[in-house]
Subunit: 153 residues, 2 copies
DNA sequence: GGTGAAACGTAGGCCGT
DNA sequence: ACGGCCTACGTTTCACC
């Protein structure tokens, strides 16, 4: 169970500002939210301690890094035992092409986001990784042609 | 078209370090990658200019913020005209629950990631937003039960 | 929550390789 | 073209109000 943290308007402004620019200086941030630097820093530290702020991350351009192919892939397993799920999840954790692995409701068990250099690199992943796992029963690929909205990018 | 940026080992180490901690000071970063602070700062500035580094962002705990329900939703349109796609994409852009909107290949046109407070908040989105758009033809929801891997979180 | 001052980090000129 | 050194300047951090 997850406890919901109570936050006021200033906390929300802090989070919105840091979502836009996570490296913004505390001085700028303080001015943006209308607080003195020290009070602002205490707020940020409290949000970090409370677990609302999990960390900070650089946002990379996947295209510039050589990722030219992205697909969502649904995967069905042939056995619903805890052991086979864990084995599959371990394999996904090891595969660098797999950026996300979600356990979903529906006809199949998993939804993956897979990023590869190009179609042929994706084909290798499809046949050499997914195709060789004994737990995997059904694979369906949905190639991403574009992402008109992606707040998590 | 996207140009792929050439990077050496040190650049990759910089990006890996900043992916773990995007607020790491340049001094720490320089020591981590084995460079002097000034040389390290120049590398980072070059990666920002080249567009490899798109920015920095705080990573929030959705659960602590009151997001208790996440689903992937496939949406099929009843018309494939540019106008109806644009109208749908505008509506998704306006909906705060829609965190991602991908244009995919396959039987349906779109895959959404939707985040809501709980099931009843999701139901409201489903009926009041998706259900009232004239372009929308088919909606299928896949509720996320867990995410064993999520590098973009 | 704000103030101030010491400790710390950044940014850029400069020189060597 | 790239790394290291130095330093003026800006930022963070913390005890205190």
């Amino acid at each position: 169970m997850q406890s919901i943290v109570v936050m006021d308007d200033i906390d929300h402004r802090i989070l919105r500002a840091l979502s836009r620019d996570g490296r913004m200086s505390n001085l700028q941030l303080a001015e943006t939210v209308g607080l003195s630097p020290s009070a602002c820093l205490r707020r940020v530290a409290a949000l970090e301690r409370a677990g609302v702020i999990r960390g900070y991350r650089v946002v990379l351009d996947r295209g510039a890094l050589g990722v030219g192919f992205t697909a969502y892939v649904t995967v069905g397993l042939n056995s619903h035992t805890k052991a086979s799920q864990e084995a599959f999840e371990r394999a996904m954790d090891r595969a660098p092409e797999v950026v996300e692995c979600h356990n979903i409701t529906g006809a199949v068990e998993y939804l993956l986001r897979v990023e590869a250099a190009d179609l042929s690199a994706y084909k290798s992943f499809h046949t050499d990784v997914l195709g060789t796992l004994p737990q995997v029963n059904a694979i369906t690929s949905y190639v991403v042609m574009g992402s008109p909205k992606d707040d998590r990018a």
